[in-house]
Symmetry: C2
Subunit: 661 residues, 2 copies
């Protein structure tokens, strides 16, 4: 029987798995959580699941779509191969693009230095130690006697103070109620978990024996669309499991505004709270199951979300976030028992929500600013997180200005005819051939295209603009000699995929109206940036760094974002991707009580700049409703690339190369 | 119709009431809460309800038991009189003895100076101001604007800090959840009630408009038998209503030990908690109904009880209080939300339990020591609270020693054949005629006697000893020439009431065994006092004051207590009655956050002396198992009185008066 098992190792992932001899190689990869691009479902028709068998034998179906050259190089189609022996399999880069789910999809190969390395992080953060807000202390107490007759609670407090100088521990009633039985069952040998809430020291768990080596925390990015979580071993400070899922509130509304509206229904708030708690609880369970950590080892949770998401989680009425003057119930959130929200970990365990600055600059941004280290740096930094709103922070360790511009949900696919979230089948990358104006597309999950997501839209706009399909005002040039451009119901349109190539069996197009919506979104972001700069009398050259945060940033090709004028035309080396700043900030806070205090300081030091009433904002916005911008002199790189691209296009199409026509 | 109402005023109570013409005068008195001794139920047979009609007319039944002289003086029997006009009625002192219920029964006329006056109290307490732990602040806030966009919670915190320097207010989640609607409904004009918990400032209520003039608190003495409560107007610091009732836990056990045993049953603790909460809630309702205070004006509760009662209220497992080494779960109790216990006042309102010193020296004693002012005095003071246990505190402002001796429940009537609590029909005062050895008794409620309560037992023992019915060893002298003494099943016995005079239609007696139990109880208390004195090297003459606390003390005739050797033979002017020290302490803490801190300091400064393992205790105890004590030289006053009484008895009985026989 043992000989019927084969060990398959995948490179470059270095993931190995034991499977039964005869197993399908694509299934083995899936089981090993190795992504292999396969869009036909495994019938060998798309030919995308090409891998190289570097060692070992597979049995292949006949008639597979491989060239002689490929077969010589060891290529096989994973979906058509059954495993005959132990294998070493290399997954070539082209086979990795796209992913089994949008939440774990791989980003495009970024510009060198775009994504910050661990060393980069270390330099950015202030000196901090692994010093979580909860601490475990093992107490071997003297048993009470008639002479030493302190109460159970005072005995624990006394020994804790003696051992670690922690005075005035608060033990709350549910814990006191369980205390006398527990403390005697454990012969007065217990581990006390103490939470430093700043205002007091609170016992969150008292348990038998020495459990000091078993302590974990949860970090959560509470996004409107996606909730990403990490399980952290507090012995090492390392993330030992991750999980992500769509926010269970999505059925009640795609964006914060529709959720706020839903929350005003009779039981709306309770339903939304319950939905997000369920998602979080499922993710925690998923992570715990992956590891040998027990639920009772989790001693605290750190959560960062935008102001609305934080309100919905905590059951706070968000309705006034939506209406002028946009007032949340709270900006700073006391620690709250996770169990009181329905998160069923040990009942004494508390949860911390990162404070926010205003209704539209929330804890996710504060966490990101913390994680980015900009609050600790001399460098003049612009931090941008683009989602439904574009949230931006400008400043450094001395001051920070924050604003939010209603980018509209265009970059999330809304207001765009075939727009969609970055789920399976969403077009996420686009190239347009300068000569033929034919597109090349990559979809999430490498499925037949069903729509186009944010990163795809930016790519598409940039490509259309460079190839002359779009003019400076964002109108499709329907006079071009290609069937891809045509007049539609919403003005000019460009066909990205023909019906027969799509999963919807309809043409996927982008229209003048779509482009207009996208232009408004990018104009709002760009105007916001400019207003902040103006507010402090800064010019672009004074900017040392632009930090892009959020899932959107991961898939963003920054040069394309500059081409359409979403980002300013700066040296791309100044632009860094900080990843999920909200999650990273939550992770850091879970590791350090000092960073929790730091986050509160950051929230307090940020000045919120309200754009909706800013007189200059509308001027800036209108100026930005061009590609790349009305003031094209501010986009010298873009203008040069545009010139080059159009020159190449003319050449390729065999037009007259003269610059004077 | 108006003319059919009569106004009846009772003196010396000065209570007036409007009743219908023709109403029975006894019923009118009852309605006015004026006690008139009436033991026959109102049929005119006992003749005890004699009152003097000073003005106005009553119609009397014929054949009432009044002498001609009495009729001339204006006496009528209240039970046999119907009201014919407005009346001025004087209730003579003999008619006032006893009361409608044990809880409000009138004490015997005490020795001059025994009960402390308000002026006495003022001198005893440290300088303190009306400074309750909760404070109301009226905030008229600026409405939020785009420029001033603080969250609702931060807006309140900002204005509170500006107005009163209170920083870092904590507003908990239930309150945050209700906040945005409430704050807007009141146009940002609110009153915030802030609780200073020592560790933090916590909003307990945020309500519309200015309610600062409406604030009340509740003080509670949480007794094993009786719960006494006060409703305090925090504008004036005055008690505006009082109520008392038996602890609803009594059906589950008469004393702390039987309740602890009951609490170990499956749902025992929950039942006991629920029972006491019900009693408290009913009393609060009763008080609120008597006044124009609203439930929502109550901003905090201060409760003092013994350690077991406090545990049962808070749902803490008391089982280890009962077994060596007698360890409670906690001695200091964090503020807890009253609503979390089921006390249905405003949900954010907190309750404070006075800390205790040990399992048998609880918050009631600490509250009493606070109320007595001994913690603030140079005077060397002995504080005694006698119930099931005798709890004693010796010391002054510099040090305090506390102990508890298991007096046994004898003084509460247990272990005594016809013992009972001080409820209706309990014999509470006794005099024995020196010549005839015939007793004169007064019962609670002036009903036919059904048993004898603690104060009656002390009275009885002293009278029996003085009249020679009891010898020094506590044995009944059955050789005396009266049918009242006889041999019974439990040794010698004395008949206090013959069957035909009682409510039980059985002879009420006291037996040698009863006396023995009472001797043990008094010996334990006296030994405890002596051990404490010895411990600090004190002698009786160094004692400046003895403070008697508790309901028991109110009815205690201290000279009788000295005669039987329960209290030491000191100048009776040194002995003061502090009343319900536990309730008074609770009242003071409700008025002053500083006194709450002071109570904690008192609890910490008290040294608990464990008697059960004290080698000298048994010696002292055995020495005290005599009347008044083995070392009679320490009771010179008693010995003199004894000599006088026996001399008078001999004279009265016509025996030879010679001192040499």
């Amino acid at each position: 029987m043992e000989n019927d098992m084969c060990r398959v190792c995948f490179h470059p992932e270095e993931r190995c798995i034991e499977v039964a001899r005869g197993e399908n190689l694509l299934r083995a990869a899936m089981k090993a959580d190795v992504h292999i691009n396969a869009s036909c479902g495994g019938e060998g028709s798309c030919g995308k699941c090409r891998v190289i068998v570097e060692k070992g034998d597979v049995k292949q179906k006949l008639g597979v779509k491989l060239s002689e050259e490929e077969v010589k190089q060891g290529y096989v189609l994973a979906c058509c191969s059954s495993i005959e022996s132990d294998l070493e399999v290399r997954v070539p880069i082209e086979t990795q693009i796209g992913d089994k789910s949008a939440l774990t999809r791989r980003p495009p190969i970024p510009l060198k230095g775009y994504t910050l390395s661990a060393e980069d992080w270390a330099k950015r953060l202030p000196q901090w130690e692994l010093n979580p807000p909860t601490t475990k202390r093992h107490l071997i107490m003297e048993k009470p006697t008639l002479e030493d007759n302190l109460s159970d609670a005072e005995r624990i407090k006394r020994d804790l103070a003696r051992l670690s100088g922690m005075n005035d521990l608060v033990i709350d009633y549910p814990m006191l109620q369980a205390l006398p039985g527990m403390i005697r069952a454990s012969s007065f040998d217990v581990t006390v978990t103490v939470l430093d809430r700043g205002s007091d020291l609170r016992a969150v768990r008292i348990e038998k024996g020495d459990t000091t080596l078993r302590q974990a925390a949860i970090a959560i990015d509470l996004g409107t669309t996606t909730i990403a979580t990490q399980l952290i071993d507090l012995q090492t400070g390392k993330v030992i499991a991750e999980a992500a899922d769509y926010n269970g509130q999505i059925p009640y509304g795609e964006d914060v505004i529709s959720r706020i509206i839903y929350s005003t229904r009779a039981t709306g708030l309770a339903k939304l709270q319950s939905a997000v708690v369920n998602t979080i609880w499922n993710l925690i369970q998923e992570m715990v199951e992956k590891t040998n950590i027990e639920f009772c080892s989790i001693t605290h949770l750190c959560i960062s979300g935008n102001t609305t998401m934080t309100h919905l989680l905590l059951g706070l009425d968000p309705r006034y976030i939506r209406v002028d003057p946009y007032i949340p119930v709270a900006q700073y959130f006391p620690w709250i028992k996770a169990s009181s929200l329905g998160i069923r970990i040990a009942s004494g365990v508390y949860l911390h929500c990162t404070p926010g600055v205003a209704s539209y600059v929330g804890g996710d941004i504060v966490a990101g600013v913390l994680a980015s280290g900009m609050f600790n740096s001399e460098k003049m930094t612009l931090y941008i997180d683009i989602g439904t709103n574009g949230e931006m922070v400008l400043g450094n360790k001395d001051w920070m200005l924050a604003c939010s511009c209603s980018a509209g949900p265009a970059f999330e696919g809304a207001g765009v005819k075939h727009g969609m979230r970055a789920t399976r089948g969403a077009i996420e990358q686009v190239r347009i051939n300068e000569a033929t104006l034919e597109p090349m597309i990559i979809t999430v999950g490498s499925k037949h295209a069903v729509g186009i997501c944010g990163s795809g839209l930016i790519d598409l706009l940039a490509e259309m603009f460079l190839t002359g399909i779009l003019d400076e005002r964002g109108k499709v040039n329907v006079d071009l000699d290609t069937p891809r451009v045509r007049e539609g119901n919403n003005g000019g349109e460009y066909v990205i995929a023909w019906a027969e190539e799509t999963g919807t069996h309809r043409d996927i197009v982008i229209t003048d109206v779509d482009v207009d919506n996208l232009m408004r979104a990018k104009a709002a972001v760009f105007a916001g940036i400019n207003i902040m700069m103006e507010e402090v009398g800064m010019t672009l050259d004074m900017l040392d760094e632009i930090l892009i945060a959020g899932a959107f940033g991961r898939y963003l090709e920054i040069d394309k974002a500059i081409i359409i004028g979403l980002l300013p035309d700066v040296d791309t080396e100044k632009i860094k991707f900080v990843g999920n700043g909200s999650l990273l900030g939550s992770y850091l806070m879970a590791l350090s009580g000092n960073l929790i205090k730091e986050a509160e300081r950051i929230a307090r030091m940020m000045t919120y700049l309200e754009l909706s009433t800013n007189a200059k904002f509308m001027d800036q916005y209108v100026s930005a409703l061009f590609l790349p911008h009305t003031h094209s002199k501010n986009f010298p790189t873009v203008m040069r690339r545009l010139e080059e691209a159009r020159e190449r296009a003319r050449t390729a199409r065999g037009e007259a190369g003269g610059s004077d026509n």
